[in-house]
Structure formats: structure tokens, C-alpha cells
Symmetry: C2
Subunit: 207 residues, 2 copies
DNA sequence: TTTTTTAAGTTAACAGCGTTAACTATCGTG
DNA sequence: CACGATAGTTAACGCTGTTAACTTAAAAAA
């Protein structure tokens, strides 16, 4: 199956990822990718419709790698939903910090660049959120979490993690704050917010 | 004090904000700003060192407007830390959704564009976080919140809000999820995560 | 009043960007 | 041996942020 055509496609994707990690999204261009692999810029257009489509392919690969690492956590903590959720949160944040520029492309691209993101790729990306929703549902079943709607709660938990990663990536967290303490606090706060409360305070209804 | 020089500076800032709101950050250029106010592009460089400096001025104005709206909440709920924090969260998210492109410039600019952000402007921006930290400290004093380090907890709360705003702005929240339900869930989860727990679970230490 | 200096703004240009159209060279097949 | 397809190229268009050099008008100094 793999001929020289698919090899070049692979070469383009690898070069893009490499340049992305080294020089960042801002300093990346079709011409630079081409120069790195020894082809002219227009050759890339023989394998990807445009720059957006090239990044869509890269995003999809990233989503799949993220899923692999989250799924490993999922199976490791199959019997402990709270600890599983905590580990999923850690893994998600670690993924973002390991390759910040890649994370940025995956989750911070402008909606106008995502309008034509293929439905099949979108469904694959959503599997990541499903792992979080599954942990919440298991937690509710076991009575160790209190959540009204697991899909909504999974999204709000994701929002907390996404905010944590993006603030760190954008270097917006105060220099006096230890990053590890910040991450731990963010995860704990999100987790505590999902635990059942003993005496319900009327001012604070269930999530 | 205001002469024609400072007037033109004001004109540039207003035109930039207007174009930002209408066409977004991606479709904004020095030439377009200049065209809108009837000057040549290089005239802008007589009032701002470069594009970054122009946006730094815009960010600073945004941070001050945010502070005004948060400070109003601060005084309104002076005696109820939990309700005050909830209202601060609502106000912050509303601010982001009211002018998404402006929020993006304020909080999502690449660190390389913020390297030369002036210290005085940075201090003004941090006052916004101080209002959150104050609410947490008041809550701890009154025994209605449990927080180890108010600065860290204020940052992790901010992260949850920032994630909520950015996911909505980037249109990454699943179409099947109601935005209002998502926002409420995110705020509630962050808030619950700060409340004191009756029986401490050894698996979940304090934030 | 005349000259000189300063201020405000302009035009032209540079290197780089994503993308398209037109062109060339190579290769497998009829 | 010719032909059509395939893979890749060059040239070009209209953008971008930014700099240098230039003009024009007003203010200050002679």
C-alpha cells in the first residue's frame, strides 16, 4: 500500500510537526516546510488541499495519540473512578505541556480554520471526552460522585483542564506560583467539585 | 492636555477595537486600521512602537474595563464571599463572551508577543486576580471556604473560567450542550471545589 | 521678515506569507 | 514510438509588519 506518494505525505506531516515543536505555529509556513523536506512549496498542495487541511491531518494524529495515552489510564484504573479521573486529568495536562505548540494547534485554532474539519476526525476527537464522561458515570454509579449530566460535567471538567494548560502555555500564571502546585490545585478543585456533598447547601445546587 | 497628537492615538485605538470586534484578530492589519481612519499605515508607528505595543495599549484598556466590572460585583457582595465569588465568575465569563475577539487578544496572545508587556500594565492586570483572591480569603475567614493558598486557588479558579470562555469562543463545546448549562456547571464545579468538606477523604487532600 | 529647525505624515521598498495558474519533465502504456 | 497521466516546478498576485527616505507645514530663531 505505501508508495512514494503516501511517503511524501508522511514526510510533510513529520516535517510540519518537527518545525511546529521547534519554532512554533507563528513561525511556520508552507515554504519553510517545503524547504525542510527539499521540495517546492506548491508540492504540498498536491497532498493537502491547503494549510488548514494539512493541520487538520496533524490535529487528527494528535487526537489519536492523546486517546492512546488516556485509554491506557482508563484501563489501568478501571475499578476506581475517582482515581481514574484524577489520572486522566494529570495525563491530559501532561500531554499539553509536553508539546505546547502541538496542543495549541489541536485546541486553540480559530473556529474559521476549523469550519471544514471533517466529521470523521471530529468523532475521533470526541472519544477523548468520552473517557472523561465514562469516569463520571462510573463514579455516579458507585456513589462516589454527584453529577446531573455526565456530558456537561465532562465538558466543564475539560474546561478546567484546558484553562490550566493554556494559562501555563501562554505563560500567564504568576511567576511566584509553582507550576506543580498550580496544576495540583486545579485538578483537586475540579475533582472536589464533582464529589457528593453531605449536607446540601441551598445556595449551591448540584452540578 | 489633549492635543491633536493624543487625539490621533485615541482614534487609532478606537479604530483597532472596532475592526477587532467586527473582523477578528486574524483579519486585522496595520494597513486596514490606517485605511479606516484615513491615514497611511506608517503614521501608526508615530504613536506606537509596533503592532505589539498597539495591542498592549488595547489590552491594558481591556484589563481596566474588566476591573471596573469586577469591582462593581466586589462591592455589591461585600458581605457574602461565596455569592460574591459566584458573581465574579459570571461577570468574568460574560466579559469574555461579550467581546470574544477582545478577550482573545487580552488572554490568548502568544508569549512572544507579551515579552515586552510593560510591568505597570501587568500590575494593573493582576488586580483582577486579586479580587478573586480577596473573595477566597474572606471565605476562609468566615469558614465557608477551605483553601490552602489563596493566590494559587485564585489562579486555579481563573483557569477554570478561562477554559470555559476559550472553549466557547473557539466553538469547541459539543453542539448538543446548552451553553448556559455548561457555564453554570463550570462555575458550580469550581465553587464546590472550594467549599469545606465535612468528612475529609484521605484520597482527596485540600486545595 | 527671513531663515532654520522641528514635527507630522507620506511614498517606496524589503522580505515573507498562502495560494493559483501555467509550465516542464518523467514514466508507464497502447 | 507517441501519448496521456503523474509529479513537480517556476512565476505571479495581493496580502503582511516594518524601515528608510522624503515632503510639507508650522514654529522658532536670526
Amino acid at each position: 500500500m505505501p508508495n512514494s506518494t503516501t511517503d511524501l505525505r508522511r514526510l510533510i506531516l513529520d516535517a510540519t510537526r518537527s518545525l511546529l515543536a521547534r519554532n512554533g505555529y507563528t513561525n511556520l509556513s508552507m515554504r519553510k516546510i517545503a524547504r525542510k523536506i527539499g521540495y517546492s512549496a506548491t508540492t504540498i498542495y498536491l497532498h493537502f488541499e491547503n494549510k488548514d487541511a494539512l493541520f487538520h491531518a496533524l490535529i487528527d494524529e494528535g487526537m489519536n495519540r492523546l486517546y492512546e495515552s488516556l485509554y491506557e489510564v482508563h484501563t489501568q484504573y478501571a475499578e476506581a473512578p475517582v482515581e481514574r479521573l484524577r489520572a486522566l486529568c494529570r495525563q491530559y495536562i501532561q500531554f499539553g505541556l509536553d508539546e505546547p505548540e502541538y496542543y495549541e494547534v489541536m485546541f486553540m485554532l480559530h473556529p474559521e480554520h476549523m469550519e471544514r474539519y471533517p466529521a470523521a476526525k471530529y468523532r475521533r476527537a470526541r472519544r477523548n471526552l468520552d473517557l472523561f464522561a465514562q469516569a463520571l458515570e462510573d463514579g455516579v454509579t458507585e456513589g462516589v460522585m454527584a453529577v446531573q449530566n455526565s456530558r456537561v460535567a465532562a465538558s466543564s471538567t475539560w474546561a478546567a483542564l484546558h484553562g490550566t494548560v493554556t494559562l501555563l502555555i501562554a505563560q500567564r500564571v504568576d511567576a511566584r506560583i509553582d507550576h506543580e502546585a498550580f496544576i495540583t490545585a486545579a485538578i483537586d478543585q475540579a475533582l472536589y467539585g464533582l464529589l457528593p456533598r453531605v449536607r446540601a447547601d441551598p445556595a449551591v445546587p448540584e452540578v
